[in-house]
Symmetry: C2
Subunit: 136 residues, 2 copies
DNA sequence: TGTATAAGTCTCAAAAAGAGACCAGCACTA
DNA sequence: TAGTGCTGGTCTCTTTTTGAGACTTATACA
């Protein structure tokens, strides 16, 4: 048994719903992970890890995100300290988003996961097909 | 510029919404990542990485997941090949969930991200507080 | 004058998630 | 033998989240 895994599990168990003052904020790992395991967060992190982008550029880069969710996801990433938002006084004003040091730090492990996905999507696809075939 | 990042970005761009036959399935990285970046997936992976669990055990371990979402998330993880589901002919029948080899393989990078979260939740919390203080 | 651009916000509809009742089959207890 | 509890779910209803797309404000340019 990997002691690191056990250590993570104990963190998980800290949060017991409905046990008085229990709150999701009491489980730090979940608190952080749920901030980045959204549909769009990792995608935007991936884009911004390459270079800073403006709002409209991101919208064109990820054509199937709604403006609403782009605004909101960038706002959340900024709030958690991963992304820096800078307004330039052009006419009309333009806004540039870039990774902070914390964002780059987080992108390290995230990137590992993205690479795993790139390498193993064949296996996942195959598992999915096999599963769908047997349950149909 | 990290050439691996650029390579991932090119994968990202494969999918253009509304461009004829374009479909989310055309971007393998997104396809895989969106399967595991749900609210509960990483949490259940973390639990099952420790040891196999039965349905009811998982429900007690993660007290704020609804039975509906536990069923559904386990089903999705099984479909993608990360989790194995085994029914034991006890009375009443019990069901055990465990990680597959593919699941353990994926948990490697995921675990890195979880550890990052454990180490850096203080910084994230601080960023959040600072952000909330300035915008209020 | 009319059009375009930037970065959003607003409203409404659709989809997803949460809460909790309900189910079948068997074992145990009273 | 009737009642209770356990298993791992499903079903329905409500609330929350997301998506689609019109609208905004100020400026520049044709």
């Amino acid at each position: 048994m990997d002691s690191k895994i056990v250590s993570l599990r104990s963190k998980l168990e800290i949060y017991k719903a409905g046990s008085g003052g229990g709150n999701i904020a009491d489980c730090p790992v979940r608190d952080v992970i749920q901030g980045i395991s959204n549909k769009w967060s990792s995608l935007l992190m991936m884009a911004l890890a390459e270079k800073p982008y403006r709002f409209g550029e991101l919208r064109r880069l990820v054509p199937d995100i709604s403006q609403r969710m782009l605004t909101q996801t960038l706002h959340d990433l900024q709030r958690d300290g991963y992304v820096h938002r800078e307004v330039f006084p052009t006419k009309p004003p333009s806004v540039e988003y870039s990774l902070t040091d914390l964002g780059r730090s987080m992108f390290g492990p995230l990137h590992q996961l993205l690479q795993w996905a790139e390498l193993n999507h064949g296996a996942v696809r195959a598992a999915r097909n096999a599963f769908d075939a047997t349950e149909a």
